[in-house]
Structure formats: C-alpha cells, structure tokens
C-alpha cells in the first residue's frame, strides 16, 4: 500500500514487558567440516546458558524454557526440511512447542520479534530464540545463485544470479541522487572489517586501505568484493523472558522493543509515496528533497526499514535517535545497504546519509557508533543467525560485557586464533540503549529492535 488506513499505523503494544538476558554464538567460518549443524547450534546455546552470569544453572534454565523460535533462511542451504525438529530434539527441548521463522536476511530479527510476542502475550515466560545457516555445503557460485532466488524468479533472478547485482543499481542511483562517492563506501568496509579484528568470532576481519577496497575484484559495479558480506556457517541464540523471570535469571536484563516493516520483493515495483515521518522529523521538512527526488523510496531508500523504525521508536518512546541511541548494529550486507539505512532509521535526514560516516558519528568514540561487532562485512552473515547474533552483540554492549565476550583469551582459543597484540576494547562507555536492524532481500522485510538497560 502507498497510503495508510488508521489501523495500518497502529503502534504495537506488548501486553507484558519483554526482556533479553543472555546471548551466545559460534565462531563464524566459511567452511565448518568439524561440526554438524545441530552441534553448532548446541555450541551457541551452551554459550548462552553458561557464559552470561545467569543466576540459575544451565539445566535449571533448561527447566524454565517453555517456547522456542528458530531462524533459518533457506532450506536450499541446509538441504534438510524441518531442521527445527532436529535442532529442538538435539537441544533436548521436546515436547515444548517451537516454530521456524523464514524471512530472508531478516530471519534473525523476525525470530526475536516472534519470541518477544510469545513473551508479551503470556504464552511463554522464558523463550529460546536460536538461528543458524550453513552455507558451506555448496560452492560459492552455487550459493550466490541460491541467494539470488530471493529475488523474483520470473523477472529478476536471471538478470544476475547474484545479490550484489540487485544492490548495485541502488548504489548507482543513490550516488547519482545524493552525491555518494566510492571513498565513503570504502570507509564503511574499512571500518567494519577493522572492528571485526577485535571480534574472536569474525570470519573476515582485516585492516584494509581505501585503495585495497576500491581495487578489490568487482562483483557488480560499483560494488567490489570487499564491500560484500561473507557466506557463513554458524549459529547464534538469545534468551527472552518476562519481567519476573528476567530478574530471577539476571541482575542485568535489558528490555526489548521490536517491530517490522515490509516492501515489494522487486525494488522496481515500489511506487512513489509520502514519507512516514519519525518522531524527530517535522511535517514539510522533505519538501525540497522530494522536489528533487520525487520517487521516494525509489531505489535509494527502504520503506520497510522506515516503517519498522516508525513503529519501534514510538513503542520505545525514542524522540531523537542519534542522541538517544548509544550504538547501532546495521545490516551491512553491502556497503550501500548500510548507507541507505542511515536515512530510514533517522540517524540523518534523507539525502544526508553520507554525513553520518564523514562526520565521525559512525565510529567508535563517535556519537552513535555502528557495527562495532564487525557487522556482516567483517564478522558473519550466517543468514538465519544474523539478526539474533546482532542482538546478542547489542545486549553485551548494554550489559558492559564487550570485553568479557571479545577480550577474554578463551574465545580466541575457541575460534582457533590468537588474540591480537593490538586488541583494544570497543565497549561503548555507559551504553544504555542499542538498536539493531535485521534486513531481507532488497528491503523486503526489515525489523528494527531496541535493547534498553533495565537495572
């Protein structure tokens, strides 16, 4: 729809408050022959149970769980239908009900949303949310093709058979409309891949120069290989609770707000419409902007992300995102998708997205740093796990546990790596509130979640 009825814009309201208390993940790799999928999920799940300073023992927490939500992007990759049943059994959680969630790249965020709904409704008071993807059972180009079947198979898939070729036209249009140059995109790749060097679980960490990024192999013009995320094998999990259970399990629970938006699978089908305004935006402020770029959201922006932010900010009472959020984790599957989102979630007004990076706000030490985890570019994109892992990284920041989960030598050892000598903490001082974006397709499904310190 391009105009809304009153009911369409209703702000979600939990019946009960929702909290997150723990997170876990595997190290992320391109190829994981050592472990079967269920063994990887067990690794993430046990880390969640054992390493988050919870006040009950792992088996007591197991005894407390009463619902599970599982995220998996593509049966193509797992080559196994009903993976959820295998995993759930492997975690010893039968006969508690579980559901599988499948919304492309936003699967992880949607899984947290569904788990939150189970808590908010009272169906459950302790809910496991876990996700996975094993993209290592096919060669890379077959993997590229599988992912491209998340473009429209009748009208788009044949035009590239690789997802970068659906983002690259957006990059060229964005550059034309808003004066985005190669250098800014390269800076994002450099920043996120650098932050990944501090993350023991990162698949493709690295300190790169702008020249290296811009001279790396072209995937689809203007997007180079170093501007594209990894294909990953790995898993992640978080634990959601109602208020009573949250404080029983943890002295440091965080409150969860999350909502989603959607838009057409094909970018090209997006008809121009009015911009739904965020709480910090004033009616009429986009008059000049729309005179120049009348086709909003066009190829430049994501209505799904804007709509999700529209709802979540109002759910959480956020007035001025850049001032109130201490950090964000964005869906940097490609450098361009990262840039596009800055306007959608109001880190900058539309048309001024680039300034979020060039001003320094996006960096550690800046006003609202993004992707200190290393993001999808540097750390992982095991698709069904991604939005769950992002939320765990946000949780640890708000709990002041960045060092506990990134600096402790045991995690580097678990990943089969040595902790780098130049390791430095990326803990945001006094972080109280973090946002994460989980994003599918070329913006077909997006969730925006906020975690807020609750102790």
């Amino acid at each position: 729809m391009i105009t809304f009825g009153k009911g369409n814009l209703r702000i979600p309201k939990w019946s009960k408050r929702v909290f997150m208390v723990a997170g876990g993940c595997t190290p992320f790799r391109k190829y994981y022959p050592e472990y079967k999928l269920e063994e990887l999920v067990m690794m993430a799940y046990k880390m969640m149970l054992e390493e988050n300073n919870l006040k009950l023992s792992p088996l007591e927490i197991k005894d407390s769980i009463n619902f599970a939500v599982y995220g998996e992007f593509a049966d193509h990759f797992q080559d196994q239908l009903l993976c959820e049943a295998k995993i759930h059994d492997y975690l010893g959680l039968d006969p508690l009900y579980n559901v599988g969630i499948k919304t492309g790249g936003a699967t992880g965020g949607a899984s947290v949303l569904m788990g939150a709904q189970a808590i908010a409704s009272g169906y459950a008071n302790c809910c496991l949310v876990a996700g996975w993807e094993r993209m290592d059972e096919v060669d890379t180009r077959t993997g590229n093709f599988y992912i491209s079947t998340a473009a429209c198979k009748d009208f788009e898939t044949r035009m590239g058979r690789i997802y970068s070729s659906y983002y690259a036209p957006m990059a060229n249009r964005f550059a034309w409309a808003y004066d985005l140059n190669d250098s800014v995109r390269a800076k994002i790749a450099i920043k996120n891949r650098h932050y990944a060097t501090m993350n023991p679980n990162a698949q493709q960490p690295g300190d790169h120069t702008e020249e290296e990024v811009l001279k790396s192999r072209m995937s689809a013009y203007p997007l180079r290989f170093l501007e594209c995320c990894a294909m990953t094998a790995g898993a992640a999990s978080v634990l959601l609770c109602d208020e009573e259970m949250a404080y029983k399990l943890s002295d440091h629970p965080v409150e969860v707000f999350i909502a989603g938006g959607t838009h057409t699978l094909r970018v090209a089908d997006r008809r121009p419409m009015d911009i739904p305004l965020l709480p910090n935006e004033k009616p009429g402020m986009y008059k000049e902007f729309l005179a120049k770029n009348p086709r909003w959201p066009g190829f430049e922006s994501f209505l799904a992300a804007r709509f999700a932010a529209y709802l979540t900010y109002r759910m959480a009472g956020i007035q001025e995102p850049i001032e109130e959020l201490d950090l964000v984790e964005l869906h940097d599957a490609f450098t361009i998708s990262d840039v596009q989102t800055y306007g959608d979630i109001g880190l900058r007004p539309y048309g001024q997205e680039v300034d979020y990076v060039t001003s320094g706000d996006a960096y550690f030490g800046g006003k609202c740093p993004s992707n200190l985890s290393g993001g999808l570019l540097g750390t992982m994109h095991a698709v069904g796990a991604t939005g769950i892992w992002q939320s765990a990284e946000c949780l640890w920041q708000v709990q002041n546990k960045y060092d506990q989960f990134h600096g402790d030598a045991k995690w580097w050892k678990r990943a089969g790596k040595k902790k780098p000598k130049n390791w430095t903490s990326l803990q945001v001082k006094d972080a109280k509130q973090a946002l994460w974006v989980s994003h599918a397709g070329v913006g077909s499904h997006v969730t925006v979640g906020i975690l807020r310190k609750a102790w």
Binding site: M1, R173, R271
Partner: protein, 166 residues
C-alpha cells in the same frame, strides 16, 4: 504385490555410493544433485507470449473506485489496492535508464556472458520500473533505450526482451 507382504525378502542396494570430499577433520561426503522443476506463468502468460510477439504487455487497473489505479510492469493479475482483476495494455517499447550496474561476477547458471550491463528502465505511463539488460552500448542514468525482442528461438523467459540505445 500382496505376495511381498507375506514373504521374506532380500533387499539389494541400488544407489550410487557417495565419495569422500574430505576425510579430515571429519568425514565430508559429496552429495550431488540433478533435478528439474516445472513452473507456471499462470495469468502472466500473455506477458511472456507478448515478448515473443515483439510487444511489452503491462496490466492496468481500470476500476473507477480504485484508490491508486496503476500500470504495472512487471505485470500482476490482481490490483493490490482494490483487489480487482486488471486489464492487459500494450506499453511503449521505449524508455529511459533509471539506474544500472555492470554484472561482472555472477552466480552459477548465468545466461549472459559476463560482464554485461543490467539496467532498470522507466517507461512513460508505467508506474513501476522494469529490469532488463543492455545488449549493446554503455548505460547512463537518463539515457534513452528501446526494447529488442527475441521473437526467433525464444527462451520463454524474461530474457526474451533486452534493450539497446534508442
């Protein structure tokens, strides 16, 4: 058939053994796949037929009560705004490039030789943008292009139309 339920039988393995892809650190087996799907174009069949006849067929909502009557290319049979069945209309075979990319590294099975220019075309009177590829030339935003149809030896896919500079 009934007989087999009552007799002891000996079962023979008739599969093809898997080869070991890796032996360390764990056994990894090769698991080859070859399969074919069928796929219907359903109510969009006139669009794909149209390509083989040298025309671009879009759908148009003609319901006078529709809140946002639009012309759709890619077509869709039912209007998402008023839920009425739409009408087929022929749209111009010319347009301007809205955006583009050069596909250099493509996924497996790609049917055009890489690199090639993929383009998104804005067509007058059409409310959506239409993705395709540029058969010759170099694209820029705003450049005029015209459709070229594969009326001989059609592929029966969206690749039966491409674009050339106008």
């Amino acid at each position: 058939m009934a007989e087999n339920y009552e007799k002891a039988i000996k079962t023979k393995y008739i599969g093809k053994p898997l080869t070991l892809h890796d032996e360390k650190p764990a056994w990894v087996v090769d698991s080859p796949r070859a399969m074919s799907h069928i796929h219907t174009y359903g109510l969009l069949t006139p669009f794909f037929q149209g390509l083989t006849q040298g025309k671009l067929m879009a759908t148009k909502c003609t319901n006078p009560k529709c809140p946002h009557p639009s012309v759709w290319l890619p077509p869709r049979a039912d209007c998402p705004d008023c839920y009425e069945r739409m009408k087929w209309v022929k749209v111009p075979s010319q347009g301007t490039i809205y955006t583009f990319t050069l596909v250099d590294y493509a996924g497996i099975g790609v049917e055009m030789k890489t690199p090639y220019w993929q383009i998104d075309v804005a067509i007058k009177g059409v409310d959506t943008i239409f993705k395709g590829y540029l058969e010759s030339g170099k694209p820029e935003i705003g450049m005029k292009v015209k459709a070229k149809f594969r009326t001989e030896n059609p592929t029966h896919t969206i690749l039966d139309v491409c674009w050339v500079p106008a």
